[in-house]
Symmetry: C2
Subunit: 290 residues, 2 copies
């Protein structure tokens, strides 16, 4: 049965973070473990929630779903720690707290990211599913995270900053599908992958949701204030970067995000009312303030 979205989001974050607090041990270097735990705490936990909710929709018990949910949160946390480094986006603030390299140092940030990256795959390789399911989850996550997915999108994003011509809408969409879209979609596919069900409805939902998420990110960079958003804002315009806002205008970007959220919600029709929590998640992405 569908549940209140905010409660489901908070419950997923609690389950994932309490699991990871117990899971992350680094006997060779205590600081490394502290930095890893720091990096996975305090986020919205949207990807972990999406994984647990898509698993629930397919009858997977929460105790089993917490492993892939924790895996995607580790992977997401690693990507943020590396993205925040001085040689990348050079951010001092993340989730309203000092970034890992500000709280410790750059070496700790590189290594904590690397360790969280490996931890994501370790968790999937230990998860309580059939080996066929484990391999399907591992393969799809490695693809989504690597040079043809998230890391490729991040590299394209950095290259675009120093390129002579700003990207056009197709270029931005390809970049963002890699940088943020693939991992959001993977989170949504956890349930059907485990249940060996059709991937189509949740892939359509995830792709639309991921794009809407990025558009609202660009809108928050223009309209948000740093204290609420929890990270620096107005960075894109200062860097002269093409964004959905610079290409579509503020109203156009808002319209596009609303259309995407509507198609995301429509894609859930095979699941009926049981998918209302995911429908509410799409509304949340549209109206989020951070």
């Amino acid at each position: 049965m569908a549940r209140n979205f905010e409660a489901a989001l908070a419950d997923a974050a609690t389950a994932v973070q309490s699991f990871l607090a117990a899971e992350i041990h680094t006997p060779l270097n205590v600081t490394l473990g502290e930095a890893m735990r720091y990096a996975v705490v305090g986020g919205k936990g949207l990807r972990g929630f999406l994984a647990m909710e898509s698993a629930r929709l397919h009858g997977v018990p929460a105790l089993q779903a917490v492993m892939p949910a924790a895996a995607i949160e580790c992977l997401h946390a690693y990507s943020l720690v590396h993205d925040d480094l001085p040689c990348m986006d050079d951010d001092d603030l993340r989730r309203g707290q000092p970034t890992v390299h500000k709280k410790w140092d750059e070496a700790t940030a590189v290594l904590a990211g690397d360790a969280l990256h490996a931890k994501a795959f370790e968790l999937l390789a230990r998860a309580d599913f059939s080996e066929k399911t484990q391999v399907a989850l591992l393969w799809s996550l490695a693809r989504a995270a690597g040079g043809q997915g998230m890391v490729g999108g991040q590299a394209a994003d950095i290259a675009a900053e120093s390129a002579a011509d700003p990207l056009d809408l197709d270029g931005i969409m390809a970049l963002q599908k890699g940088k943020t879209g693939e991992l959001i979609t993977w989170s949504c596919l956890v349930g059907p992958i485990i249940a060996d069900a059709s991937l189509t409805p949740l892939r359509t939902y995830g792709d639309a949701l991921g794009l809407a998420f990025q558009i609202t990110d660009d809108i928050l960079d223009v309209e948000g204030d740093a204290a609420t958003v929890g990270k620096a804002v107005s960075k894109d315009e200062a860097a002269g970067k093409a964004t959905f806002v610079s290409l579509l205008g503020l109203d156009g970007a808002k319209r596009r995000a609303a259309e995407l959220v509507e198609s995301a919600q429509d894609a859930l029709s095979p699941y009926g009312k049981d998918a209302d929590t995911l429908r509410a998640a799409a509304q949340f992405v549209l109206h989020r303030k951070k």
Copy 2:
């Protein structure tokens, strides 16, 4: 049948590197793919060789063994690219060539390392083995590479540089088992994991080989010249770091390495003469000049 070691090492490197040259594509950002390929080329390929040779000892065809061999070379290459970063060991030279962050920039080095890391797991998740074998390979590699293995050892190594007291022999051995030992041992276990055979002989071999490898690394840092070694030398003493040489003396370190190589070779007795190539590999580690 056992073969000439140098030929087997060169053949394994050719197989792995030609596979990876075709495998690594990054349509979202061409530079990223160039940096990834650059990072996997030109090394000795010892880990890939160990994986292929241990597979051969268990009757696994070379065409199948190339995937785990390529995976461990990707993982090793990622670790070198990140270790060379200015915030880590700050090295300009690797394998006689400019390090990735010198040839490109730090952001490219962080991302190329991250993409190679994901590629290692992707290759294992795609390899042509039973799903049970794939999960066993993936799980053990993720453990060996993460915060309790390689990354943990690297973090301990960096922490030791700024610690008030230098490490003692037990501390150095624990650190090195994490930093370099676990991945060398994993390479040696590829064959018995795939064949579902006893891990004991090749685990003993790999643990001793890995430790001998690190001791000879410390010896090369004292006795080698940068042009031959292909990276900066005399770094440990300059940094005031405890090493096997500082703790055992140069002669003591050489004796210890020779003893370890002998036990590594002894551990191979269940394989008879068929393991002579691995015995020669242990001799190579002892007498290597780079």
